[in-house]
Amino acid sequence: MHKQEFTITVYTENHIGLLVRIATIFSRRKINIESLNTSPSEAEGIHRFTIVIDETEEVVRKLARQIEKQVEVLKAYYNTNDEIIWQELALYKVPTDEIAEKVKVERLLREHGARAVVIRKDYTIFETSGHREETEKLVEVLAPYGLIEFVRSARVAIIKSSHGFHEKLKEFEETEPGEELIENEFLDKQQEVFTM
């Protein structure tokens, strides 16, 4: 079993303290979280964590089960990079005069698909999104031109399968007996299902 990047997607209730509960599942096993994002999901009221770690599949499978055991977690999935489309967003702050004066910079930005978000006299903020290597490449490229600030977001990912996670539930059904299909109905019905 070799280590590779896995993206863990967790559907949860929106509950204060859940972030800590999920984080400690990794930290107590001394596993570093490479990237973590929380966002709403396609189902109203259901949150979605996207967590990237570098581990073997066996470890990731166990982690996913430990995550799923948490009371406020509806379901946890994991995928390899082959199975998902993912993006990270990056912002770059560059002195405006550099760009204005040096045609080369403009060309470079264009090549990397960067888009200006804010243009001020003193600086301009560019935005780009893509895989880590891509956003990192632009950092290298901009460094000689006085890159003032750089920040990159966590990974957001969507599975390639055309049906999305709801369909993937059935796949998990094959190896993991459970109420997934019933749960799936709940996911679509939102607050009718329960209170508290």
């Binding site: 949860t12 209730e13 204060i16 303290g17 800590v20 509960r21 400690t24 107590r28 499978r61 166990k62 089960r65 430990q66 799923e68 055991k69 009371v71 406020e72 977690v73 509806l74 993991e176 007996p177 459970g178 109420e179 749960e183 709940f186 299902v193 329960f194 209170t195 508290m196």
Partner: protein, 579 residues
């Protein structure tokens, strides 16, 4: 069946709402959940709840402990003896942090518990106020769920959820932290509704019959099948279902320390204890069986020894309610997910009636060897000094296996679990996973409240008793009957044993002095005596058990006896040593 019970909703709905305080709502919740006893200790931030308790004295018994840790262990003892949820009240800050050991113990041993802590006023949260501590984040890793209440209107539904989570599925501890303003706040109370469902929470996976059929097929084809069972059988209230499975299949069954008493110890198919200090046969033959059927147990490292040499030849069937346990330590050939109360009868109906006579003979042969090498001498020593084993043997002869035995942690715990007889389930109460010294005395207090009609014997070493000895005060004040049996070897015996075996007898800080326990007990108004001679042992035990009320009996045992057999750490179960 359980399912039906849990789906039923209980509504205790008054016709009109009434104005009550958050504190009253807490107590109303306890009463609605049929809590009869609460273990606790008051303090600043929980004073409103204690003030309300003043008026509930006739409906809710409160036992004042001497340290909050004692309250958690008492709640554990209560839960384990009664099968109900143990409840703890403590104040903020140090009161709350003192609960951590008990919560961790309850977490790893799956004990249903609800701990309610007071917290500083909501407006003071995060200001380092007096006795403020972030107990939610401190207890996150050691609770099944926790929640902070800052508004009284949340209290009924949050407590309903707390009790539901504590006892359903794989049980565990839940902590609810309530700020002082929420305890004081009056609100329109519309009654208490029990929680029966949480969308994101699956107490038990749905049983898949195809896996049971596959498991049955494996069992029916097996020549040397072996059952290992844990506390899941007790927590699932599936003792009868388990017995039926064992008897029909004719398969020898061995227990983990927390599974002890789920099957009577004298059952012909009960072949003994698993693990580091378990019996010879169950350990050795784990690596000889062809099908290993694990029921409600989690393959703790003290049970498996070296994992890569554990039951590698066997097909493994693992029945568990917690999906994360399947394949966690030992890869299962077939994982049967579900409540064993439901899965066991299904499995029993599919297995063939058999008698594995030849296979069972192997266990008997191992027993004979263990008896010759270890057990006989331990129970009938030829030495001048008494052994722990002979104390337990004498105790068995008097109790007949009908008492609840609560143990602390260490050598005496291993000896007591190895040799104590049990006729009834929920009779062995010990700290298994966490190995908490100091557990015994407070847990015995709780056990007595959980099963008042039964005899409760706390067997404790001279190390453990000194960790929570202040709970003698609780016994004195609550006027209950707990039999305290101290097995004094004048050492922290288990650590000493390891130092002898693995550290060249470099006895580093294991020499522990004791006070005069009989005098200490007397100071608390508890009768007692100390026995140093064998000829007085039996009579002393009889006196202890006949005594009306609590009694402390200290027995001086051999200083440097070791517990054997032993699977040394890092070794395979096949490498079990008899000496």
């Amino acid at each position: 069946m359980n399912t039906v019970e849990e789906i039923k909703t209980v509504n205790i709905q008054p016709a009109v709402t009434e104005l009550i305080s958050g504190s009253q709502a807490v107590l109303e919740a306890c009463i609605a959940e049929q809590v009869d006893t609460v273990f606790g200790y008051p303090g600043g931030a929980i004073m409103p709840i204690y003030d309300a308790l003043y008026d509930y004295n006739d409906k809710l018994k409160h036992i004042l402990v001497r340290h909050e840790q004692g309250a958690t262990h008492a709640a554990q003892g209560y839960a384990r003896a009664s099968g109900k949820v143990g409840v703890v009240f403590a104040t903020s800050g140090p009161g709350a942090t003192n609960l951590v050991t008990g919560l961790a113990d309850a977490m790893i041993d799956s004990t249903p518990m609800v701990a309610i802590t007071g917290q500083v006023f909501a407006h003071l949260l995060g200001t380092d106020a007096f006795q403020e501590t972030d107990i939610i984040n401190i207890t996150t890793p050691v609770t099944k769920w926790n929640y902070q209440v800052t508004d009284a209107t949340e209290i009924p539904s949050v407590l309903a959820k707390a009790f539901y989570l504590a006892k359903s599925g794989r049980p565990g501890p839940v902590l609810i932290d309530i700020t002082k303003n929420a305890q004081i706040q009056k609100f329109d109370y519309a009654g208490y509704t029990k929680c029966t469902h949480i969308r994101s929470y699956r107490p038990k996976p749905i049983v898949r019959k195809e896996f049971i059929a596959e498991a049955a097929k494996l069992i029916n084809a097996a020549e040397k099948p072996f059952i290992i069972f844990g506390q899941g059988v007790i927590l699932g209230k599936a003792e009868a279902e388990f017995k039926a499975f064992v008897e029909k299949s004719g398969i020898p069954a061995a227990w983990t320390i927390l599974g002890l008493s789920a099957l009577t110890t004298d059952h012909p198919l009960n072949v003994g204890m698993l693990g580091m200090h378990g019996n010879y046969g169950p350990n050795l033959l784990t690596n000889e069986c062809d099908v290993l059927i694990a029921v409600g147990m989690r393959f703790d490292d003290r049970v498996t020894g070296r994992l890569d040499k554990y039951a590698k030849q066997a097909k493994v069937i693992h029945l568990d309610i917690d999906p994360s346990e399947i394949d966690k330590n030992v890869k299962a050939t077939i994982g049967v997910w579900g409540d064993c109360k439901e899965t066991l009868p299904l499995l029993t109906s599919l297995v063939e009636e058999k008698k594995h006579t030849v296979w069972l003979e192997k266990f008997r042969a191992c027993d004979a060897e263990e008896n010759k090498e270890v057990i006989f001498e331990e129970l009938h020593p030829s030495t001048e000094q008494m052994t722990m084993g002979e104390v337990i043997r004498n105790m068995n002869e008097i109790t007949g296996g009908n008492a609840i035995i609560v143990t602390d942690v260490g050598q005496h715990q291993m000896v007591a679990c190895r040799y104590a007889k049990f006729n009834e389930s929920k009779s062995n109460i010990t700290s298994g996973g966490l190995g908490t010294m100091g557990f015994g005395l407070p847990a015995a207090i709780g056990a007595k409240f959980g099963a008042p009609q039964r005899t409760v014997i706390a067997i404790i070493g001279d190390g453990g008793i000194q960790m929570t000895i202040q709970e003698l005060g609780t016994i004195m004040q609550a006027e209950i009957s707990v039999k305290i049996l101290i097995l004094n070897n004048q050492f922290l015996g288990m650590v000493r044993q390891w130092q002898q075996l693995f550290n060249d007898r470099r006895y580093s800080f294991v020499d522990i002095a004791s006070p005069d326990y009989v005098m200490v007990a007397k100071a608390y108004g508890i009768e007692g005596q100390k026995v140093t001679e064998r000829q007085n042992l039996k009579q002393a035990l009889q006196t202890m058990l006949d005594h009306n009320g609590s009694y402390l009996l200290e027995v001086m045992v051999s200083k440097e006896n070791n517990v054997f057999p032993m699977v040394p750490q890092g070794c395979s179960v096949s490498e079990i040593r008899l000496k």
